[in-house]
């Protein structure tokens, strides 16, 4: 696996990049070589930088005629063997939902970056508002899983984009990166690791799959186009994505409900099998959380994205004043860390959930905690919470 050609070309040193630029560089470091996009503020820097960088690296850039065409084009590019990405904002993300649902059902690895802006409607383009959290999972028709990352700094935009591409390759589904107009436009220091370290970290796109011994290529009739459930080992076997120019591609890849061997079907049993397989194939390792100052905490702030920075500052100030507070951060917003929140609520009985919306993850946290836990949301529309505001709230809750 480590002898593929890795051709990322940025020398390893610290840079000063805007959030949108760090997103682009992270994608290029992860091996993304196809981008199709449509202009929408606040993510215009993403297609602009991609159009300049991709031809130099041998990749392809195209500006399509609308967001539905952009996301359809990256599905095609992913089937033709390139890692593909698109980026958009709130109104464009709503247009992409049909194809997100289709791409989940045919298990295409791809990455969609959503640089959110105030809504509803056209809203204000340059103010942040995390309004698409629920839409990323439940926007399209049908029931499908999604992995969503919520970085909070430009360095994390670079790193989590690489993680997003790796997750897309491993689990074969569209992965969403949540950014917003504030994070997309601040300039911060980003350190690019040495190329050898990056090469070890990135999972490349595979063309041929091997049998259990790892040496003989798998013959066509043993290859399952989609994920299947292996009854002997009780696990889900996720195969490599089929490339349209190789023999692994099935004769007919239907958009309707299908079996793991890509045969279209109209029976209720196959619908049940497909929906359960799609939704259960992710497993537990996908959920990532981070904990700060949580060993002896009485009150915890559950957060994701930009409010994490205010929360960390507030908790550090609170600890100086003697309040036992901690931060429980969701790195991946979807799949939701239900088990982890439940275990948290067994130790900490007071939770605060600051969000830059009216409370979308708040409902999920309230549903996941054990009895006796007080959960309070701190909504902030179109602005970032200030550390002093969260500190005052911590003091209020503890006393």
């Amino acid at each position: 696996m480590a002898d593929y050609i890795y051709d990322y070309d940025m020398p390893s040193k610290p840079y000063v990049w805007m959030g949108n630029e760090a997103l682009v560089e992270g994608a290029l470091a992860a091996g993304c070589r196809f981008f199709a996009g449509y202009p929408i503020t606040p993510q215009n820097e993403v297609p602009e930088r991609m159009s300049e960088r991709l031809p130099k690296l041998g990749g392809r850039f195209i500006q399509m005629e609308d967001e539905m065409a952009s996301i359809s084009a990256i599905v095609g590019a992913s089937f033709a063997g390139l890692k593909a990405m698109t980026s958009t904002s709130g109104p464009g993300f709503s247009l992409m939902q049909e194809v997100m649902s289709w791409a989940s059902s045919i298990e295409v690895p791809m990455v969609v970056a959503d640089v959110q802006r105030t809504g509803p409607g056209a809203g204000i383009v340059n103010l942040p508002h995390h309004s698409d959290i629920i839409q990323a999972h439940y926007g399209g028709n049908g029931e499908y899983p999604v992995i969503a990352y919520a970085p909070s700094s430009c360095q994390e935009l670079f790193d989590y984009t690489i993680d997003a591409f790796n997750d897309a390759e491993l689990y074969r589904l569209p992965v969403v990166i949540f950014s917003d107009s504030l994070l997309g436009h601040i300039h911060e220091k980003v350190v690019v690791p040495p190329l050898e370290a990056l090469k070890q970290r990135v999972i490349p796109r595979k063309l041929v799959t091997y049998e259990e011994d790892g040496k003989t290529p798998l013959p066509r009739n043993k290859y399952y186009t989609f994920t299947s459930f292996d009854r002997k080992t009780n696990t889900y076997k996720i195969t490599i994505p089929p490339n349209i120019a190789t023999d692994y591609f099935p004769e007919w890849l239907p958009a309707v409900t299908h079996s793991p061997q890509s045969i279209a079907s109209e029976y209720q049993e196959s619908a049940e099998l497909e929906v359960y397989t799609l939704n259960n194939k992710l497993g537990d390792k996908v959920v990532k959380v981070q904990e700060y100052f949580m060993e002896d905490a009485d009150v915890a702030i559950v957060c994701y994205g930009l409010p994490f920075r205010s929360a960390l500052r507030a908790v550090k100030l609170a600890r100086e004043e003697g309040i036992k507070a901690g931060v429980f951060r969701l790195v991946t917003v979807w799949p939701f860390a239900r088990k982890a929140i439940r275990e948290l609520s067994q130790k900490v009985k007071k939770l605060l959930v600051p969000e830059i919306n009216m409370g979308q993850i708040l409902i999920w946290v309230e549903a996941a905690v054990e009895d006796g836990t007080t959960v309070e949301g701190i909504p902030a529309i179109s602005r970032l919470h200030e550390p002093k505001e969260l500190l005052d709230k911590l003091k209020e809750v503890v006393h």
């Binding site: 196809f34 031809p55 095609g76 349209i244 045969i263």
Partner: protein, 289 residues
């Protein structure tokens, strides 16, 4: 399990076996209505692949949503089904990512001219190397016979019980204005010319658009007093005028007629070729530094 149609008598012509290498079913069958033009179109495409011995990996089929979604049962090679109207966008991604392939998009008149008009116009303008075969039967067949953008005014359909009030439009004129480099229109009554056009389009460098008019006796025919396949076929044949004979004819005479022929054949540089040249240029520039 649905019961398969009865086994055919011997011999099986080798053309029938072309699409079935590797498929699950061992005999030629399709699910189209009797008299539907799509069965013949599938047969003609199979012939081209078998006679010219084309490499099926180089020509993936991208199929939209409509009655012809079941066409991959009788098509050679592999087929990818996309959501309604997005065949050209997916094919653009495939062509740019791997310029050696020539995707063949099969779209209907509803798929291409209603929900997918934007992609159609932009693909013509962009001149990307895709072959678009539009199956033009003037109706939405799969969903039960609703009006399409190409249904002539006054004709009846299931959503136009008193006759359609809107005028139709000509997709060939749209393709010519948008800048498509190879534009042709044929009907099921011109199978040999259609095959020649498809052979030309498969080797064409640029966007090629072939409008194939075919008969839908089940919905278009039955709603308009043409229940037999022969009636719809003769209606199409009666309204067909070859391109050479339209010189000097006024617009009123041409209204409602299908003008068949090759409308334009002027090559332009293809998009993925230009992009590869750009990449080579940038690479040589950075090497010289």
């Amino acid at each position: 399990m649905q019961s398969l149609p009865p086994l055919p008598e011997r011999p099986l012509h080798p053309y029938e076996l072309v699409p079935y290498t590797g498929r699950k079913f061992a005999q030629a069958f399709h699910i189209f209505c009797r008299g539907c033009g799509y069965g013949a179109i599938g047969q003609l495409l199979c012939r081209i692949f078998k006679d010219d011995k084309l490499d099926e990996t180089l020509y993936p089929f991208i199929v939209g949503v409509g009655c012809y979604s079941a066409l991959p049962l009788v098509l050679p090679g592999r087929a990818l089904m996309t959501p309604h109207g997005r065949t050209l966008a997916v094919a653009t991604g495939i062509k740019l990512a791997n310029p050696k392939l020539t995707p063949i998009c099969i779209a209907g008149d509803g798929d291409n001219l209603a929900i997918g008009t934007n992609h159609f116009v932009q693909s013509c303008r962009r001149n990307i190397g895709i072959v678009l075969i539009m199956l033009h039967n003037n109706i939405y067949g799969m969903t039960g016979g609703q009006v399409a953008p190409t249904t002539p005014m006054g004709m009846r359909a299931s959503t136009a019980t008193y006759g359609y009030l809107e005028d139709e439009f000509d997709p060939v004129a749209l393709a010519l204005t948008a800048g498509a480099t190879y534009v042709a229109r044929w009907t099921t009554a011109h199978p040999r010319q259609f095959m020649k056009s498809v052979r030309k389009a498969l080797q064409w460098k640029g966007f090629s658009f072939i409008d194939m008019v075919s008969q839908c006796p089940t919905y278009f025919g039955r709603n308009n007093d043409m229940s037999e396949p022969i009636d719809v076929f003769n209606w199409i044949k009666g309204n067909t005028i070859p391109l050479e004979k339209t010189k000097g004819m006024s617009e009123e005479e041409l209204k409602g007629k299908f003008v068949v022929g090759e409308f334009r054949e002027s090559p332009r540089k293809e998009l993925s070729e230009k992009y590869i040249e750009l990449i080579e240029q940038l690479r040589s520039r950075s090497k010289r530094k």
